[in-house]
Symmetry: C2
Subunit: 374 residues, 2 copies
């Protein structure tokens, strides 16, 4: 078992070598460091996905897991999204649930149902049985995809690696899939808190190594997806999640910016900031000015257009995107993004329209009328 | 078509006649008026439901719609919950989606899937086709259930009537059931805003008459369930929902307290208060002290135990319930409740334990150790 602190030290060196001046001075990396940028950098969560014809074409031939496990294909869809949308950062195509596959819990994606975990974890014994994995072996295919992607991406486009955060990962592992009420997750958390903490520690151990390995392989930034943490009260977050989120982020390679993201986190904002991250990701429910007021000036903020806005007409997209940009005018630490992932019915043209609009509007050229509305 | 203001005036008279001194001085009604109470009143959303053996017994013989439409049965389950739990208020057994059945959209409850609306509303033409209903005719069975319940309830237990709020009702009508992202709802809201406002106006017209008829029939308070409004940003709430919620609440019989409830509303709290309501209902995500700080002192607050806590052990229930009560010590406008409805796997004993604990702890008798933990 490698010592995670040792591996962090070695990755810090490796990584610094990979951060070219061009990448370091990119708008995205500057915004992560809260430095002034010539325009607001923008990328979209799930920017490579089913809304793209090219992606659907590939997915008609391979399953989602197979796509993740075929580095050339994962790199191809990652790079394609950047080229198609002209966004300011790439995010490696992978899935936050890959560790559940690696643990041997039987991860599958069932059409119309989302992820299903055949053997969920419900007891202390289940938790004790989770194998200790070497992240570099277990996720060698993701690391290879990152190496290929880094070679194929434009030299000025940073690549983001990512992993699920401990609460969100545990919720899938315990519920066996998506959930509305997190009944099993919270019951285990409340009634078997020792087992809960053991489970989250186990997830954190693996995630630290996995994320640092991604940085080593060529990722310039790391995003932690705590997509469902908004189901918790702040008291529960502090008691059951905060120490783990904090240890995870503290274990990551120094110098690699970390984006700490969740949805529905209006009650958790300060707690998530205190757990760590150079950038805090917020969803559309939160007004950006209010998020800045509450977060203070020591972090950058990523967000926060409602993904459903991209299903609407261009006037709606324009009105909402410009509203966000106006709220963040003069704020050097803003990375524009959706509040959650691109939805499958989104039109690629609308996504491109948004990216172009963010660039034009934020660089002072506010003529975003573009072509005719669709 | 009856004029809603005229019917409000007549209901105000009718209703005042029904509010006996005993009901007026009950802990629940006093808390609604932010008057000091000898103990914190408590009731539980969905306190009549599948977690009760007696309810499951009835439901094994009749469907949910049939149960709602059989006033004697609806009254029976309503009264049974009060007697079993010894809560401080009854809520009439009904469903927020009954108007969708009355509109003729084909409401059904599909096992494991929740409500399914066979003919959802998606276009301006669909909205124009929605019939104008006379609430007293369309929901005569609910009104009859209220009359029976009022006769059978203990004379000091107030009865709550309710309806879905415009956004939540529209979301079911447009999506055709439950939803994660409200894609159709928001797209219609953004792209066909005239139709959206027409739809919400239509829902409000019916809801005002429906709720006032419930007060007439014998309900001492009214709750408006905007269960899913937390999916909206505050800007969207103000543009697309606020005027309708405000008109709905303004149209209700004066003197009948209104509880305005939603989940995930941390960003909407002040806006919902401004839309109206004597009591604002909040879920577990929100700290109660923080809710009081933000809401000010002109409203009462209802909430906010996580319903999942009732699936845990008694030590968890005690710790969390006492935490809420401590936060609200000395606050005269607190009605204890869950943050959302009782979950089906809840044990009746745990629910009774909670109610008893709230009463004992808040009346100064803090020996809530009760019997042995289960």
């Amino acid at each position: 078992m490698p010592d995670s602190r040792n591996s962090s030290l070695s990755t810090a060196r490796d990584h610094d070598c990979g951060l070219t001046p061009q990448l370091r001075e990119s708008a995205f990396m500057k915004a992560c460091r809260r430095e002034k940028t010539p325009y607001t950098p923008v990328w979209l969560m799930r920017q490579a996905g089913r809304y793209q014809a090219e992606f659907r074409e590939i997915r008609s031939k391979v399953g989602l897991l197979e796509l993740c496990k075929t580095p050339e294909l994962a790199a191809q869809v990652t790079v394609h999204a950047v080229n198609q949308l002209e966004v300011d950062a790439a995010i490696i195509f992978a899935d936050i649930l890959l560790p559940l596959d690696a643990f041997g819990n039987g991860l599958d994606y069932v059409k119309g149902e989302g992820p299903v975990i055949a053997r969920p974890v419900r007891t202390a014994a289940d938790i004790d049985k989770l194998p200790r994995l070497d992240a570099r072996e277990a996720f060698s295919y993701v690391l290879e995809a990152i190496r290929i992607t880094r070679r194929e991406l434009p030299a000025n486009v940073p690549l983001i690696g990512f992993a699920g955060a401990p609460f969100t990962m545990a919720s899938y592992l315990i519920e066996g899939g998506s959930s509305r009420n997190y009944e099993n997750t919270k019951t285990l958390m409340y009634c078997q808190s020792e087992s809960w903490h053991k489970l989250l520690s186990h997830i954190v151990d693996l995630s630290v190594d996995y994320l640092n390995a991604q940085a080593d392989a060529g990722a310039q930034a790391l995003q932690i997806f705590d997509s469902w943490v908004g189901a918790l009260s702040v008291d529960d977050y502090m008691d059951y999640v905060f120490p783990h989120a904090k240890r995870l982020i503290a274990g990551l390679t120094p110098g690699v910016p970390v984006i700490h993201f969740g949805t529905g986190t209006a009650c958790l904002l300060e707690a998530m900031r205190d757990a760590g991250g150079d950038v805090i990701g917020v969803d559309w429910r939160m007004n950006m000015k209010e998020a800045r007021r509450r977060l203070g000036n020591e972090v950058a903020i990523q967000g926060n257009l409602d993904p459903v806005a991209l299903l609407a007409d261009r006037e709606t997209i324009r009105r909402k995107a410009e509203g966000i940009l106006r709220d963040m005018v003069g704020d050097p630490g803003h990375i524009f993004n959706l509040g959650h992932g691109v939805l499958p019915p989104t039109s690629v043209d609308n996504a491109k329209f948004l990216v172009d609009l963010v660039h034009r509007f934020s660089s002072g050229n506010s003529d975003t009328s573009g072509g005719g509305d669709t």
